[in-house]
């Protein structure tokens, strides 16, 4: 780094104590210090683009995204239940443009990690010094016989990427008669939004309870034997909707033949190893993996599905100067079964680490201390919500899960010997916080 830039950087730091932003003043911004291309405009990609510009306006940032409007997956289960307008989850890219991010609406078709270029469907090419990949997930429809992308777009929506399918599922639920069965099929983990299927079950039950469908059933056919926030979900299901034998919600674990292997779209029948379940609405969440663009590049080295990255910087372990964030990557303390959850908050946290480490790199400063946090709310009724929080640090080049700063909302108060119910105000507060969280994350990433 040139001395003049360093002085500019230090001046900016001094200014940062009064103003808030650690950016290089305009005089230096004129000279482009580095070019960063961000692929994917979800929570992760948008945050990376924004924070790069916030931290150093001398960095040229291009964001390539195929859609004009982003729809938040978090809280989209409330849309399915008919309790939230999908518009409250949607945001465009004007906020990022105001921050100087060049937003390109296009689809990335190829990445050349040697020439360091990105090619798009419309024939454009972008060179980069650093590439941030935040491609989200793509679905493996072949894993469930009888399922296809065409069916997911029409009669069997997964709605695991919020948007048109969310609304189809909403309509299917609204049209479901009393006594109908809503099937949710959960793929083997890890999958995007670990508590999502179980929150969806509660939201469907909530809809049925308030729309004269008290005899409806919500059947969760699960490929797994446990799930995120399980004691909290089971407690709420039981108290609010009835759970298990005779209740509205039923959960079938993987060990109990819960894994759906085949579906017949015509009769809406799900086939497990030994059984068959006919539903009025069938919501199969197909197994998924890192977005195609990352997978095609050979970055999905973890079980051929997820992209491995370096803990301090999120740089791919496979390709230099390519950083993979969001649902596509794998990280965290894998040995203790504390992987990074695939959540919006986590993706943003990773994006902020990438932004800070790239800014340090381009300014020849030592890499900053990486820290990763997650907060994820689940809303199971209008006045009942709960959350999980995660904290990870990097020590000796490895991710460390910080147990003290992690964990789910309390299931009970009192002692294990003498448990007492958690006062309802706690559950009510977390519903309110879920909404506050949504508005703030949307602004933090896109505004």
């Amino acid at each position: 780094m040139h001395a003049i830039d360093r002085r500019g950087f230090i001046k900016a730091l001094a200014a940062a104590s009064t103003a808030s932003i650690l950016s290089i003043p305009g005089a230096h911004a004129a000279k482009t210090k580095a070019r960063v291309v961000v692929v994917g405009g979800g929570y992760g990609g948008a945050t990376a683009a924004k924070y790069l510009r916030l931290l150093d306006a001398g960095i040229d940032v291009t964001l390539i995204e195929r859609e004009a409007v982003y729809t938040s997956c978090p809280l989209s289960n409330e849309v399915i239940a008919g309790d939230r307008n999908i518009k409250t989850l949607q945001v465009g890219y004007k906020g990022l443009q105001k921050r100087g991010v060049k937003v390109v609406r296009d689809e990335v078709t190829q990445i050349d990690p040697v020439k360091k270029t990105v090619a798009t469907a419309s024939g454009k090419s972008f060179g980069y010094d650093a590439l941030v990949l935040s491609p989200g997930v793509d679905f493996n429809y072949d894993a469930v016989a009888g399922l296809s992308e065409a069916l997911a777009r029409t009669t069997l929506p997964h709605a695991w990427k919020a948007g048109p399918q969310t609304l189809i599922l909403q309509q299917q639920l609204a049209a479901m008669p009393d006594g109908g069965t809503f099937i949710i099929a959960v793929p083997p983990g890890p999958f995007r939004c670990p508590p999502g299927p179980y929150e969806r079950a509660a939201q469907v039950a909530l809809h049925c309870k308030h729309h004269g469908k008290k005899k409806a059933k919500v059947l969760i056919l699960d490929a797994n034997d446990s799930f995120s926030k399980k004691p909290l979900f089971e407690q709420a299901w039981k108290e609010l909707y009835g759970y298990g034998e005779g209740g509205m919600i039923e959960w079938v674990s993987g060990s109990n033949d819960g894994k759906v292997e085949r579906v017949d779209a015509q009769s809406r029948t799900c086939y497990t190893g030994f059984g068959e379940h006919q539903g009025d609405v069938v919501n199969i969440i197909p197994p998924h993996h890192a977005g195609k663009i990352a997978k095609d590049l050979g970055l999905a080295t973890f079980k051929d599905k997820w992209c491995e990255v370096k803990p301090a910087s999120m740089e791919s372990t496979k390709e230099k100067d390519i950083y993979v964030i969001g649902d596509a990557c794998v990280g965290g303390e894998l040995a203790s079964n504390n992987a990074f959850p695939k959540s919006a908050h986590m993706a943003m946290s990773q994006a902020k680490v990438v932004a800070a480490s790239l800014v340090a790199k381009f300014n020849a400063l030592p890499a900053p201390q990486a820290i990763y946090t997650n907060t994820c709310y689940s809303v199971v009724a209008h006045d009942w919500g709960f959350s999980v929080v995660h904290l990870y640090r990097v020590r000796d080049g490895q991710w460390v899960y910080i147990k003290e700063g992690s964990g789910i909302s309390p299931v009970t108060f009192g002692t294990p010997q003498k448990p007492e119910p958690v006062p309802r105000i706690y559950r009510k507060l977390e519903v309110e916080y879920a909404d506050g969280w949504l508005r703030n994350v949307l602004a933090d990433a896109f505004a």
């Binding site: 730091l13 201390q369 907060t375 003290e404 958690v422 977390e430 969280w437 994350v441």
Partner: protein
């Protein structure tokens, strides 16, 4: 000689820049819920930029050491060292307090003014912008958040530490709670 001094100065500055970047990285984990520079855009989440350092530090430490109840924050802060909590309190206290004045009907505002002059003004001031040392600024704070905080103080099952605040919140008429919250939420200065 001169060159040497410059090199040392650059080294020192570079160290300071690193520390500053570390704090930025730490503090920006708060932005997800509390907004960039601590200015929240979610009604249930408080703005924290520009709140007094002592208040921020005290509240975070009370959560960390289970002296104050919370639905979420008490879990989050337990992962932070006391030094990090101090650094975060300093960081956010140096931000500008940005009130987000919210519209409120004349009737509720008038009722709110009566409620706060009887219950809140002594410590929080007439507009909430010039409070006692241990109290937060609340002019233009989100009314929804303040209402939820008052509900915490009024609930038997919620551990809240401030005796005077607890006593006052509990003697308020239920309908006075939103009135007080909206009154302060509407204040610009």
């Amino acid at each position: 000689m001169r060159k040497g001094v410059l090199a040392v100065a650059l080294f020192w500055f570079s160290g300071a820049a690193t520390a500053a970047l570390d704090i930025e990285v730490l503090a920006r984990t708060c932005n997800n819920c509390h907004g960039v520079s601590g200015v929240s855009v979610g009604q249930s989440m408080p703005s924290i930029g520009g709140l007094p350092r002592e208040y921020l530090k005290t509240v975070m430490k009370q959560w960390k050491y289970d002296e104050r109840g919370a639905a979420t924050m008490n879990r989050i802060v337990k992962g932070f060292s006391d030094d990090e909590i101090d650094a975060l309190a300093v960081y956010f206290s140096k931000k500008r307090w940005v009130p987000v004045p919210q519209g409120v009907g004349a009737k509720l505002l008038a009722r709110g003014k009566g409620v706060i002059s009887e219950n809140c003004e002594d410590c929080h001031g007439l507009t909430g912008s010039d409070p006692d040392e241990d109290a937060p600024k609340i002019n233009g704070q989100w009314a929804k958040y303040m209402q939820l905080e008052l509900e915490k103080y009024r609930d038997d099952g919620f551990l809240m530490p401030h005796r005077k605040m607890k006593r006052t919140a509990r003697k308020m008429n239920p309908a006075d709670v939103p009135a007080a919250a909206h009154y302060y939420g509407a204040q610009r200065k």
